[in-house]
């Protein structure tokens, strides 16, 4: 018992202060008896001495408490060190695993790249020579034989498309792309030029708002929007002429200024339940007899949007059309992605 702050309060304060909390505390009190002792020890005291006490006992208790405190501190240090070692070891293991995972990922991409690159040559030759057979010797062949040749041509065309898809997917994954100012109006103008023939053949109408300029990798953004426009043309309904509307608005998205670009069509659409699946690699919602493709187009779009720290989402109604919304930050934090 003391004025202003009693022993128990001081003890509590010591135990709550990190710098001194391990200091041994011996309570000195005139209160004898089992109860008082237990109360003191429960409050966090290391020892309890009842007044009056002899000098030798005090010294002995102080010495033993200091020894215990030292041993405890040493044990704690030891434990902390072991813990640190274990953490270091685990971190190293994780880092190693991560590196080997990255490596095998790169190997896989490299494999896809090499395999598809090497496949291009034989496929090109199959096309060249079936083409020559038809053109140069078509007159000598019965109709049935020409039909078979056309089937070969058709199948190899599909192979070419798929190989190109796998190639661009693997290239996209491996090369860092420099960031620059990209005028989306220019990107869409290039896409329209490159799809000129398809647009003319299908009688499609493209309506495009003025679009923003943003930071990104031009090659990738071209590919992203090319795939979306190409899909809108490809998955058109038989009844209506394709109408593709491209709009944009500026918005705020998780603290960043973004452009939200919408590509809307009046094509065959899709069931809303499928809206996540369509971005998976090799997923197809439609029979490949009617709609050719690699099954990689939208997976590629998603990768590109995410590489720009943006996103892509789709909504669709079967038979009415599809809407793709691409969100892209106006500025990028790094010099390349």
């Amino acid at each position: 018992m003391m004025p202003r702050m009693d022993g128990f309060s001081l003890l509590k304060a010591i135990r709550a202060t990190p710098e001194i909390q391990a200091t041994p505390v011996i309570l000195l009190s005139a209160r004898a008896g089992e109860e008082a002792k237990i109360e003191g020890l429960e409050a966090g005291a290391d020892d309890y001495l009842v007044k009056p006490f002899g000098g030798r006992e005090l010294i002995a208790r102080v010495e033993s408490n200091i020894r215990i405190a030292k041993e405890r501190a040493a044990a704690m240090r030891d434990y902390a060190e072991k813990l640190e070692q274990a953490v270091r070891k685990r971190t190293q293991e994780l880092r190693r695993l991560n590196v080997s995972l990255q490596q095998s990922n790169e190997d896989l991409m490299q494999f896809a790249h090499v395999a598809s690159h090497d496949l291009k040559e034989p496929v090109r030759k199959v096309r060249t020579f079936t083409g020559r057979l038809l053109e140069e010797y078509g007159g000598l062949l019965p109709e049935e034989a020409k039909k078979f040749l056309r089937k070969i041509q058709h199948a190899t065309e599909r192979m070419v498309t798929m190989i190109e898809g796998v190639l661009s997917y693997s290239i996209l994954n491996s090369n860092a792309q420099p960031i620059m100012q990209v005028d989306l109006n220019e990107v869409f103008a290039n896409i329209e030029t490159d799809l000129e023939v398809v647009i003319a053949q299908s009688g499609a109408e493209l309506r495009r708002d003025k679009l923003p300029v943003l930071e990104g990798a031009p090659v990738l953004l071209y590919q992203l929007f090319y795939n979306l426009v190409n899909n809108a043309l490809k998955f058109s309904s038989e009844a209506d002429k394709p109408l593709i509307a491209i709009n944009s608005r500026l918005a705020e998205w998780s603290g960043k200024r973004i452009a939200e670009v919408t590509v809307r069509d009046n094509g065959i659409g899709f069931d809303q339940e499928q809206s996540n699946r369509i971005f998976e690699a090799f997923a197809r919602l439609n029979s490949k007899d009617r709609f050719e493709g690699t099954g990689l187009g939208l997976a590629l779009c998603k990768k590109i949007a995410e590489r720009h720290h943006g996103s892509i989402a789709a909504t669709g109604v079967r038979g009415e059309g599809a809407v793709f919304v691409v969100r892209l930050p106006l500025s990028q934090t790094e010099g390349s992605i």
Binding site: H117, K120, R127, T128, L167, Y222
Partner: protein, 154 residues
């Protein structure tokens, strides 16, 4: 004097298709062939083959690939002015950029249809006769589907 083309390609089918298409466009043209960069260089230096008016160069070849050959050729004073068209299966933009960096005249992805190969060679031959090498690339790419075009960001 008749013009000389040199095609460097390890693929015998492609060399054959090339020389056949070239002969159909202009039978007067001499078409020398080599199976890789090293062989082409050796035979050029030994004057086994005369200096060509234009070279068609494949990239992926054993012994000395297209890039190595192009680098060597552009370092030789007597050969560095020979226009080289990189002629490959690749349609990779990065390969096109490398070709431009190394001083190739043009980058062309090998067409699938024989008729297109003949059209393409028709354009090249007429410009070679007129020595309008600078026009080759634009006119070939105007055919469409000849691989990544130069001079465009995307």
């Amino acid at each position: 004097m008749s013009k000389r083309f040199l095609v460097i390609d390890d693929d015998s089918d492609d060399r054959e298709l090339f020389s056949e298409a070239l002969a159909s466009v202009d039978p007067e043209i001499v078409c020398d062939q080599a199976t890789d960069g090293a062989e082409a260089l050796k035979r050029l230096i030994a004057q086994e083959i005369a200096k060509p008016d234009i070279v068609f160069l494949d990239i992926n070849m054993p012994v000395m690939n297209g890039w190595q050959f192009l680098t060597r050729l552009k370092n030789e004073d007597q050969y560095k002015h020979i226009p080289v068209i990189v002629y490959t299966t690749s349609s990779n933009v990065r390969d096109r950029l490398i070709a431009t960096d190394l001083g190739a005249l043009c980058f062309i992805t090998k067409p699938h249809a024989f008729a297109r190969l003949k059209n393409l060679l028709g354009i090249v031959v007429s410009h070679v006769h007129a020595r309008n090498f600078a026009l080759i690339c634009d006119d070939v790419h105007a055919m469409g589907d000849m691989g990544p075009r130069p001079n465009r960001a995307c």
